[in-house]
């Protein structure tokens, strides 16, 4: 139709480009602007890796472009799954040698902390060409060990859930620091024109401790924060047009807002209005892309069976399928939280049937995800990370049923795809599983390594806040070169 408005598109293109080039924190707005400018992607090159010599904003060639992080919230027991300890089984029921206890602090130490060693009752076997040990509780994962780098020597600093989870996500146990997904999007921007660059999915009986701060942007611009997708038909808050408003009417509203904003942009000369116009265009695209993302009707029965999910029931398995669809659509960082791995013993948290149940909830789907990514050619560019905020003690707890306490000195994570060496077991804990004794991989080292795989030097990805340059790895972090070399 004939609008009573002049055509401002030339103005917009000019002012937007100028603004885009001059402004710092762009985030999602920047992505939208980039698409407005006909760029394929927006690299936060003006901001983050400022010293980057590379046109794509990276410090060195990337092995991985995207990440799927399977966060096992609560701290899964490595001793029941990947870290096979015959000596611990042999010494089952014996007191822990004093030499292992000195200088250590444990959660719940005062009331219920056990001091007797607990050997696993699970059967372990070697699998694949790599001969990695995996217990009977993860039969599907056992079949893909030749795709994985299993690291049995991970270590963390904090032994309570909320601070530990923050530590694993942000490199600090204190609130207010940006999460890894926020850092990565800040550094690299998103490749999706119509979805946020950092998406979070959740499953299990409860949300992860600490909630939204685990995927927060901290002091980074909020555009980089994780966007939690929910189950059901509305994956992003307020994504659906309100009832009673047709798609055509919604488009008319978008157009009217754009035209009036354009008039104001011309009147005031404020480039921020151009960013807002672009943000509304992105919002309009997200209204379409969001529902398309969660529409599983085109997924084949074979795929659904492989993951062990149907189209309608919220579960970790369905989230794994969403994760693949998200990386297919260019989302940079996908994080799945699954609870409850907090196997202290006690109601709902024992190492017997409760632990078997939570293993069943993830085992088939996580293996299917890795294989599905591989089959679709996505695995080489997608780094899959699996692990909790810590592991479990070699001692059992004095509770009604079998359980283990939180343990930060040795636990297991695994990595797949994204340039990671396939089919290796890296690092060792001591014979009782107490301390990492070979190739210790501290959380800061893991962060440095993940950034490295993405082409980012963890020492150069910084943000000045309250008078200091902050980074994900604080003042720490050594590359775990064996993970890819």
């Amino acid at each position: 139709m004939n609008l009573p408005f002049p055509d401002y598109s030339a103005y917009l293109a000019h002012s937007t480009r100028r603004h885009f080039l001059s402004r710092c924190s762009l985030g999602l707005g920047g992505i939208a602007l980039a698409s407005l400018l006909g760029r394929s992607r927006a690299v936060g090159a003006e901001t983050a890796p400022a010293a980057s010599p590379r046109p794509d904003g990276r410090h060195h060639p990337a092995r991985a472009k995207q990440i799927i992080y399977l966060f096992m919230a609560g701290g899964p027991s490595q001793l029941e799954l990947f870290d096979y300890k015959p000596k611990l089984i042999e010494l089952n029921g014996q007191p822990i040698p004093q030499s292992f206890l000195e200088g250590k602090r444990f959660a719940f130490m005062d009331t219920s902390h056990g001091t007797k060693l607990l050997g696993t009752r699970r059967q372990f076997a070697r699998h694949g060409r790599s001969g990695a040990w995996v217990s009977e509780l993860m039969p599907h994962t056992a079949k893909i060990v030749d795709e994985l780098s299993i690291v049995n020597s991970c270590a963390a600093n904090l032994f309570n859930h909320a601070p530990a989870k923050l530590f694993m996500n942000t490199g600090s146990g204190l609130f207010g620091r940006p999460s890894m997904g926020a850092w990565v999007n800040y550094g690299l921007g998103s490749e999706s024109q119509s979805l946020p660059g950092f998406v979070v999915l959740q499953s299990g009986p409860r949300g992860p401790r600490g909630g939204a701060v685990n995927w927060g942007a901290g002091f980074l611009p909020t555009t980089h924060q994780g966007v939690p997708l929910r189950g059901g038909v509305e994956p992003i808050l307020d994504l659906a047009t309100p009832a009673g408003i047709s798609a055509a009417q919604q488009r008319q509203a978008f157009d009217a807002i754009r035209d009036l904003n354009l008039a104001r942009a011309v009147e005031t000369g404020d480039p921020e209005i151009s960013t807002r116009i672009a943000a509304y265009e992105m919002a309009a695209r997200m209204q379409t892309s969001g529902p398309e993302l969660t529409d599983l009707s085109k997924e084949t029965a074979a795929t659904l069976t492989a993951y062990g999910t149907d189209r309608d029931t919220p579960s970790f398995a369905r989230n794994c399928l969403y994760a693949r669809r998200l990386v297919e659509r260019g989302v940079r960082f996908v994080q799945l939280y699954h609870t409850n791995w907090d196997s202290h013993g006690g109601p709902g948290e024992n190492l017997n049937s409760d632990f078997e149940k939570v293993c069943r909830e993830v085992d088939q789907a996580q293996a299917a995800l890795v294989l599905d990514l591989k089959q679709r050619g996505l695995l080489k560019d997608t780094l899959v990370v699996w692990g909790g905020e810590f592991g479990r003690t070699p001692m059992g707890e004095n509770r009604d049923t079998m359980g283990r306490n939180h343990h930060i000195d040795a636990f297991t994570m695994w990595f797949a795809g994204g340039g990671v060496k396939a089919g290796q077991v890296l690092g060792q804990s001591d014979e009782l599983g107490f301390n990492a004794v070979e190739d210790r991989a501290h959380v800061h080292d893991i962060h440095a390594t993940i950034l490295h795989l993405l082409g980012i030097d963890h020492k150069k990805l910084t943000f000045r806040f309250q008078g200091r340059d902050f980074r994900l790895t604080d003042v720490h972090g050594e590359l775990i070169t064996k993970l890819w070399a």
Binding site: L3, F175, R206, A212, P221, T223, D238, Q252, A256, R276
Partner: protein, 808 residues
């Protein structure tokens, strides 16, 4: 133009004009600034690497370990030229490990040395003191050429800088824009169309100032300015960490609103918040004010070490104190001496000692003493208290007849049986029956086998009534332990590694605290010592930041050596001294700023300044600022006509999308408020730290975890989705549409203009009105939702305009 440090300007004033007029290189303007920028960090007052300092010509002549900088002979043979050229055999090229000086800069220094390296008269060495650690001295407002422009001294400082750069200030903003600006800035709400009309028609002198006074007197002013203060105080309605249980501390929020409305002088405002509990015979209000330091998080997770989280809270109080009042990053000294500012690790723990003595623990279990109750403020339902009294009396009179039976039964009990009793019953065993309270008697009798049926009936009746009995309102307050805790330095900031013992004290680089055994109250009063260099500067800077989007010191939370120097140092100091001279009146400061000519400029971009001053540091114009999260909701509420004027009280629950509350560890419910509470200002929205209201969080509301002195202003698609589709905004759009539609006898175009004015305070241009008319026609076309829906659609468009959510 090189931004001259304060000391250089001091010298400039002393130099005879004739010297500057000579064709020779001017040391003070051409050489000294170069040395100050590139050399004095290592060779100045703070440190003298190689025994050398270059902050005076005399010191350069004297030289350091390698001798004088100006040896006789060819100029390029002098030590100074050799090191900056990089031709010295042993000394590395200077500046050390930095890019060399530019050729033109080296040439200037070379010419100056050739001309004899003349020293100015009375050149004094650089002082060690960073500017922010010296008390502000009151500068005279500078002379300006355009004497008609300034409205108050602020303008002379600003105009002098602009004139020096040959920049003309922008024109004044349109009256409607100006009134909207000042109304939003002073009250957080837009002006009503009637207020705009009145202002536009008032052509008499002082119309604007009268509007300012009206706004400053409005109770909305305290609500608006409480918000940035509550950001600093990291206020929230929940405990944070993983459990994030609700807490009651809204009395503190209401105290802030009331204090700002009453223009409580800033010194009292701060002293009562930091140490109201330690004032002689503190009032309830003064104790409520200490909630400032109780806004720390509480970790209620099982299995934690409570001491660890008690210490986290104390550290948070130190960090907040440092940021909020000193504008310093004192937390950097938690693990080691501050790398840049004169704050030692000892200094840090000396500050820590002031906050280390309160009764609250790290687990939220020890609340006695840290909690102030207001039992009389509860309004019980009609007749409930009378019924409760009657039921209690009935039960008590029955129990009073049962003493013998109970005593006989107790005598039959052995120790294991007694141990199994609950705490109240166990207590009751210690006293004879007639000395027991009703609660004790009740607890014991309930355990007795074969109790009389009269008891069961009377007890049940009382229990039912008690369930309806409102709990007393409480608020978290500071309270000192009778015996202070011992404070030690934590080695590397690790509380499990105690180091040497320290006593309370203030950082050595700041004015001394001349009190023996100082406590928190002394610390609070110390902030307002006449020679304190930071308190006033930090606060006027934060106020300035709210009005111009950026502080005079851009790093509003870092006045230390790593912060940015002030853009207008004299203005900052003038404002700081003025603040003090006006009795620390915040309203006087607000009035001063908003009545300045500087504040009243148009915010339109200036193409002529796009490259020279893109960020508007020189303040030739105002700046368009996206509204804060709370104001975005409040503007929509006001435009829709639904806004409730109710001040204070418990937090409220405006609608939010389903499922938000399930994202936290503990699933909580969010039952939307009904009636008036549904439409309260966003200040009153219940703030869950772990699961904040998404419509506020998406617009960068402070998270409440740590002190926040400046919010980000992000601009995202999620904000667009919120304003367009969120049920609470849809409800307001509908009300706005209805309000516009109901103007009887007006044409559609006039109604559209009215709705537009409700949001932006100005008339739409002809083009804008035509566009709205075209949109309205689209919406009312056959097949649409009808006229009512079309008006809602208009409301949606208007609430989504960039201008509606922006202060221009």
């Amino acid at each position: 133009m090189f931004p001259a440090p304060p000391l250089t300007r001091f010298f400039l004033a002393l130099v005879p004009l004739s010297l500057a007029a000579q064709p020779a290189v001017d040391y003070l303007t051409e050489v000294k600034p170069l040395l100050a920028q590139h050399c004095c960090r290592c060779h100045g007052a703070a440190q003298q690497k190689g025994g050398l300092r270059v902050d005076t010509v005399a010191a350069m002549r004297e030289g350091g370990d390698s001798g004088t900088l100006f040896a006789a002979g060819p100029v390029d043979g002098s030590l100074l030229l050799k090191v900056i050229l990089g031709t010295h055999d042993e000394v590395a090229q200077m500046p050390y490990k930095k890019p060399p000086l530019a050729e033109a800069q080296i040439a200037t220094i070379r010419r100056w040395v050739m001309q004899g390296a003349a020293a100015p008269a009375h050149e004094e060495p650089e002082k060690t003191r960073h500017w922010a650690f010296a008390a502000p001295e009151r500068p005279l407002a500078p002379e300006v050429l355009d004497t008609a422009w300034p409205r108050n001294p602020i303008d002379r400082f600003v105009l002098a800088r602009l004139e020096a750069g040959k920049i003309k200030p922008s024109r004044e903003a349109d009256p409607a824009t100006l009134l909207r600006r000042v109304t939003l800035d002073l009250t957080g709400l837009p002006p009503t169309p009637a207020e705009v009309d009145q202002f536009l028609s008032d052509k008499s002198a002082g119309a604007y100032e009268r509007a300012v006074d009206r706004l400053l007197a409005s109770p909305r002013h305290g609500e608006r300015w409480a918000r940035p203060w509550l950001d600093v105080a990291r206020y929230a309605d929940s405990n944070g960490y993983s459990v994030d249980a609700p807490r009651q501390i809204w009395k503190y929020r209401d105290w802030v609103v009331a204090a700002l409305n009453a223009d409580l002088p800033y010194d009292q405002f701060v002293i009562e918040q930091l140490a109201g509990d330690l004032l002689p015979e503190p009032t309830a209000g003064q104790r409520v004010a200490t909630g400032f330091n109780r806004n720390t998080q509480i970790n209620q997770e099982g299995g934690i070490d409570p001491e660890q989280f008690r210490i986290e809270a104390v550290m948070d109080r130190v960090a907040t104190f440092g940021t909020a009042f000193l504008g310093l990053t004192v937390s950097c000294a938690q693990c080691h001496d501050h790398k840049f500012d004169p704050i030692s690790q000892q200094d840090y723990y000396r500050l820590f000692a002031f906050f280390n003595n309160s009764v609250d623990d790290g687990h939220g279990k020890t609340v006695s003493g840290g909690l102030l109750a207001f039992p009389r403020e509860i309004e019980a339902p009609e007749g409930l208290m009378r019924e409760l009294e009657e039921a209690r009396a009935a039960l008590e009179s029955f129990l009073n007849t049962q003493g013998g039976a109970v005593t006989a039964w107790i005598a039959t009990l052995d120790t294991p049986a007694r141990v199994k009793f609950g705490a109240t019953a166990r207590e009751a065993l210690k006293l004879p029956w007639d000395q027991l309270t009703l609660a004790h008697k009740r607890a014991l009798y309930a355990l007795m086998p074969d109790g009389a049926p009269e008891f069961a009936a009377a007890n049940l009746r009382l229990q039912r009534l008690e369930r309806r009995e409102p709990r007393p309102i409480t608020t978290l307050v500071m309270q000192e332990l009778p015996q202070p805790r011992e404070t030690v330095v934590f080695i590397k900031g690790d509380f499990t590694r105690p180091g040497e013992r320290v006593t309370p004290g203030t950082p050595a680089a700041l004015p001394p605290l001349a009190v023996a055994n100082p406590n928190r109250l002394d610390l609070a009063r110390w902030l307002f010592a006449p020679e304190h260099p930071l308190t006033a500067r930090v606060m006027v800077n934060r106020l300035w930041q709210q009005y111009f989007g950026r502080g005079l010191v851009e790093t509003e939370n870092d006045f230390g050596t790593q912060g940015t120097p002030p853009s207008h140092p004299e203005l900052l100091d003038w404002l700081a001294t003025e603040f003090r001279e006006r009795g620390w009146s915040l309203k006087a400061l607000h009035r001063l700023i908003v009545t300045s000519a500087t504040y009243r400029r148009s915010s339109h971009a200036r193409p002529d300044l796009a490259t020279s001053d893109p960020l508007n540091r020189l303040l030739a114009r105002q700046t368009r600022l996206r509204l804060d999260a709370e104001s975005i909701r409040d503007v929509a509420l006001a435009a829709s006509g639904l806004l409730s004027p109710k001040i204070g009280g418990p937090p409220v629950f405006p609608p939010q999308p389903d499922g938000v509350m399930t994202l936290g560890q503990v699933k909580r419910t969010w039952t939307p408020s009904t009636g008036e509470d549904r439409y309260r200002r966003a200040l009153y929205t219940h703030w869950w730290r772990a699961t904040p209201h998404p419509a506020l969080a998406v617009f960068d509301a402070a998270d409440g975890f740590t002190t926040c002195t400046r919010r980000l202003r992000s601009n995202t698609p999620l904000q667009a989705l919120t304003l367009l589709n969120d049920p609470q905004f849809l409800e307001l759009a509908e009300a706005l549409g209805r309000r516009a539609e109901s103007a009887r006898g007006w044409s559609a175009a006039a109604k559209l203009s009215h709705a537009f004015r409700l949001c932006t305070a100005r008339e739409p241009s002809a083009g804008e009105r035509a566009r709205l008319v075209a949109f309205f026609k689209q919406q009312t076309a056959p097949g649409g939702g009808g006229v009512r829906a079309a008006w809602t659609a208009v409301g949606r468009v208007l609430l989504n305009l960039d201008e509606t959510i922006t202060r221009e």
